[in-house]
Amino acid sequence: MPTIPVSEAQSEYDVVIVGSGAGGGQMAYTLTLAGLKCVMLEAGRSYDPTTETPMFQRGDQAPLGGAGTPDKDFGFYDATIDGGWDVPNEPYTQASDKPEEQFKWWRARMLGGRTNHWGRISLRNGPYDFKPYSRDGLGFDWPVSYETVEPYYTRVERLIGVYGSNEGLENTPNSPEGVLQPPPKGRVGDLITQKAGKKIGVPVIPIHRAVLTKALDGKKLAAKLHPGNKKAQKIVADSMIQRAPCFWATPCGRGCSIKANYQSTTVHLPPALATGNLDIIPNAHAREVILGKDGKARGILFIDKTTGKEERVKGKAVVLAASSGETVRILLNSQGGEGIANSSGLVGKYIMDTVGSNLRGQIPALENIDPHNDDGAGGSHFYSPWWEYGAQKAGQMDFARGYHIEIGGTRSMPKGTSPVPGNYTKGLYGKKLKEEARRYYGSFIGLACRGEMIPNENSFAELDPEVKDKWGIPVMKWHWKWSDHELNMANHAQNKFTEMIEAMGGTALPNPNKPGSKSILKGGEIIHEVGGALMGADPAKSVVNEWNQTWDVDNLFLCDGSPFPSNADKNPTLTIMALAWRAADHIIEEARKGNL
């Protein structure tokens, strides 16, 4: 995509945006369409999904059959480039040498950030999720309610395109009539899980995902999204027309050259660039927010990775949308390491991830069924929203918050590793091996818990006093601890999954993690890191207000997951975008009043 070198940057912009993913992309989209001049700094290289996405490449056309390696954690064809658990030249450290007290920090270094490879699961937070403290006395309330954010959820869903259904279940909001795209048909794994769920009282319904199942009506949608702004309507309609609906092949994690799914690089950035109001500077590693004598943010000091030199861009307002960990790093490193926006002392505190715990089952009924196309929309079709709000309220559970269940596909494309777990073909070779592999392939169901972590005092990030990155910038040091709420949740999920698999007539694969709490994945492994600069109503107890605006520096906005005061089991991306759009509207309003 078109980018500029720093030498071509304007002397001052309206807004400097750090990060090009869901938050930065949404910010750039909303601000530029309203006429504000923006510059976006991206730490990685430029990236163009229309030419770089491996859409139909097979395993046998990739090194190692496409299997994952430390260079490409999620497999060769995963959209992520220059990213992962370890990024060269940019280390991070751990406060503890105990593995369970460590945080695995996943970072993307490419235009569009994590939105290029994410699961596209787009769930709205429900009313409970904005007021968790009021419900159970744990964690923190958000300064906004569901009703406040709802119009922005609707806008984002209209813009990016989300498939799903309205089921009216508790704390699982419906979207307004006509906003969602049609959900895809259930696959064998979805339908058999749904039937089993019915037996044991677990709802299984169509999931919401940011994938087009039909073409967008660009003109109509653009008029709804940008009333009274003819230029924006034209640009957005043109951009929407460029997107094709899903053609039911190739996993979304590779990205999408036909733009059927949402990624910042196919949905947010093209219209923002079309306004002529956006400059993108790639390979820009942000170091500090520059603070003026008046206490206002004046721009960003960054390293141009192509030259290794320090550079500056200036703006009337600054948006950090670099991911929770990076935003914390930039805030703490500002003013020569004194930090900014931190009068509360809470920058870096209360970082959360999602509780992950997985179990697979083997289902005899699915053995040797006729081969058929199970690719579907390249990701989840069905899921289980949390169903035990009543039992929790009645004090019958040993953990306070919910999880949803994601259903793993059955007949996916093999990629470099055996498509059947080894013990099902152990001791076999020849014709018998091939027959048994065919028999068992497609007979496995994976169930995954994705649950809410409650913010705690022991999970936070700070600057490492000694370790610096390649450019001499102090790096993040992570502290991590799950509480009993999360561990008990993982245990519950393992028991429930076993029950579900047995309700399908199957057997859970032997799980070495006993008790179930030991099955919890490491902090950071679900890549839903949020928190670290909490949003709140009281400047002494939070870093930003309800507009994602820092209390201390009123032209500095944090528009990634860092302001999240809680991390509901609803994956964070949709909420990041909704809040970014809302904050952008606030910036536009302030600019109109001449307050920028």
């Binding site: 220059d82 959900p183 199970d374 093999p414 001791g427 076999l428």
Partner: protein, 217 residues
């Protein structure tokens, strides 16, 4: 892996090395050429994903001639030609195995520690029992050894170690074999083709499983 019926494929990396040596040119004058194969540490974090690759493109293949021969023979015992699909050797599966055990990544390096000594061991076992390398044995003789390696409880510690190798080697073979279109047909994967609609599983399968399509048109 390379899909062709005969012959040994020439890795692009090798070709470029020869090209460089013979012509004594500076490869950096050809940016597209110079970038892709020069990495001996793996493919790096930013390989061209839209291209297609074959074993040897990113790192040298390292199996010796003897190992190559043994691996080829063993892979054909594990995945022979039958009504489900072609033999491993018809798909040049040994190139995938070679790429796997030659790869500079931790998981594959670990596998190498099992596979290379295992290939040597199975030849020694073949010689001790039948006086020839594994690849030169009759089908019956090869089967006799494999049956011992697949026994529920291998009779000797050496056979137990051999069984561990055999199991891991099979896993690698399956990973490569089933990543090919012929492997897809053999295991029953159908897909990777664009379509205007997705109708879900055929009605016959739903009937067989007693399931109902709950997402209606």
């Amino acid at each position: 892996m390379n899909i062709q019926n005969t012959g040994t494929r020439l890795p692009r990396r090798k070709v470029l090395q020869w090209f460089a040596a013979a012509a004594a040119v500076d490869l950096s004058a050809f940016p597209g050429l110079a970038q892709s194969p020069a990495n001996t540490n793996g493919y790096g974090t930013d390989p061209n994903l839209a291209a297609t690759y074959a074993p040897g493109d990113f790192w040298d293949l390292t199996l010796t001639e003897a190992e190559h021969k043994t691996a080829t023979a063993l892979a054909d015992i594990i995945l022979p030609a039958d009504d489900l699909g072609p033999a491993a050797s018809e798909l040049q599966l040994v190139d995938f195995i070679d790429e796997w055990v030659s790869a500079p990544y931790p998981h594959q390096k670990n596998d190498r520690k099992i596979i290379i000594p295992g290939l040597k061991w199975i030849d020694e076992e073949s010689k001790a029992r039948f006086g020839k390398d594994f690849s030169d044995l009759t089908g019956e003789q090869q089967t006799a050894i494999c049956d011992d390696l697949c026994a529920e409880k291998p009779k000797t510690p050496a056979l137990a170690k051999g069984a561990n190798f055999f199991h891991r080697f099979s896993g690698i073979c399956m990973g490569g074999y089933y990543s090919t279109p012929q492997g897809w047909a053999a295991i029953g994967y159908v897909g990777n083709t664009p379509s205007g609609v997705f109708n879900g599983p055929p009605q016959a399968i739903l009937d067989q499983l007693g399931l109902e399509q709950t997402v209606k048109d």
